[in-house]
Symmetry: C2
Subunit: 293 residues, 2 copies
């Protein structure tokens, strides 16, 4: 393909600048939405090759083509670790994809979302129904537009699983990676609760991964990190950090329960669940001592 | 970072156009080499964030920052599967990285490289010593500049392991994915030989993966595919296909032998070896029946 199709004067693309060392440019079919909330710029575009894409502050959050990986792995891993997961809290995740996956589980009694930015929710409800279906009217679902930092510090509700479906630790999301937040997460989890957090890139954010596991480890006995692949994040390899009060993330995995769930997975399966916790050598070297399973 | 650093009039970058749906642009510190061989355009550049990079026909082949993943996984997996790997053939791999990893094994008696393009070899010897060190003068190493298609059809040499370190199935590399090539690979492998081939992207090349495993399966009883992560290939997730006459790719893995090798791995370890064969659900669905292990 000739590069003149990428005509800068037309700007029929979106681009993400990663660390001044890589530019990822996605040609577009259409621009669907752009707005500025109090927190960030929110855009929804229709790309040529990745379906509809949500970007916050110019960073790709989700694309229709590959969001199944992130959303299956943030949700089904902890839900199948926990023997009876009933009350789920999703922090962030305003596209709805995480809630969509959570609500596939008949054992789940309620999925409560706390998202800071109504603009993300509304833009996705209008333009990315593929993920926003997770936020549709349902007695098992509720959504609060609120600051999760305050929410976890003050709520009297208790949860079995908390999913921190956050952006990168820049700007408003920074406290979501910090010790005060995790003290409160620990407080509002039940005695055998589990938290999973968006855990950045092993290649690009080794220090942040180290710091996050250390912070979680100050509160929780069982700490681990598991990998997955996202086409539209720089470098592709990305992680989730998991902290558990009681249930081991791998050891008692009930394969029959996974098969009996009736859920049609595109990435997740019992073997992938276990294998995702197997880390390449450089990650083991970096996180030595912080992984406690 | 402001996009004016990516000034198109200066062209201080290289860019890879992936399927007209993603452009990956790497800003440069310097351009080191550019030439046209009979087969392809060969470039070596110094990038801002990925070290030195080799590109063939504008496609990123290797970068210093992440080449360890590819080269560890193409070599150490089959070498540790085979109980006594002595004679190794590397097809392609003109950067030298695969040979470098192969020669770390004291049990290996000889590593023979057959690369079609002398320009790749010479450019890397001059500009990317990090990988080209694998091709330095050594009694355990020999290099032929030749067409591997012809070589495998005519040689009387026999090998324990063949590593097909090839570019994508476009142009000259197409026959390296075909039935005649694999019939000859089978012919020149010893009775318990193993072949590993660069296996493309599960997301972007599902059909090619299906076709490759089918082709290999016409010759070999044990067929599998294993995944790894490359920062500078589109989407990050990539695969190797493995075909074995006798030795199972996972079952008899000798962890002690891996530890005793004394090799300092940055990606590979025994658990990663096993886990890399665990495939996400969509890959299992696509390759159903072709994986025989």
């Amino acid at each position: 393909m000739k590069t003149e199709n990428f005509d800068s004067s037309q700007q029929q693309w979106v681009e993400e600048n990663h660390a001044d060392t890589l530019l990822l440019r996605y040609p577009l079919k259409n621009r669907l939405f752009k707005g500025n909330s109090r927190f960030q710029t929110v855009e929804v575009v229709e790309t040529e090759g990745y379906g509809r894409m949500l970007l916050n502050d110019g960073l790709v959050m989700i694309s229709e083509r590959d969001e199944f990986v992130y959303h299956e792995m943030i949700s089904h891993v902890p839900i199948f670790v926990h023997p009876k997961p009933k009350q789920i809290l999703v922090i962030g995740g305003g596209d709805g994809g995480t809630a969509r996956e959570v609500l596939k589980h008949s054992s789940v009694e309620h999925c409560h979302m706390v998202e800071i930015d109504a603009m993300v929710v509304n833009a996705c409800k209008e333009w990315i129904p593929q993920t926003a279906v997770g936020m549709q009217q349902d007695q098992k679902f509720s959504l609060d537009i609120a600051d999760a930092i305050d929410y976890v510090a003050t709520t009297e509700k208790r949860y079995d699983i908390i999913l921190v479906d956050s952006t990168d630790p820049i700007g408003p999301a920074v406290p979501l990676f910090g010790p005060e937040f995790y003290a409160n997460v620990h407080r509002i989890l039940n005695y055998d609760g589990i938290v999973v957090a968006q855990g950045e890139s092993p290649f690009y954010a080794a220090e942040q991964q180290h710091a996050l596991l250390k912070t979680m480890g100050e509160q929780f006995p069982l700490i681990a990190i598991y990998n997955y692949n996202n086409l539209t994040y720089p470098g592709g390899l990305w992680s989730f950090a998991i902290a558990s009060k009681q249930h081991h993330p791998i050891d008692n995995l009930d394969t029959n329960r996974i098969l009996a769930s009736g859920i049609d997975f595109s990435w997740y399966n019992a073997d992938i669940h276990r294998a995702s916790f197997v880390l390449p050598q450089f990650m083991l070297n970096n996180l030595n001592g912080l992984i406690t399973i």
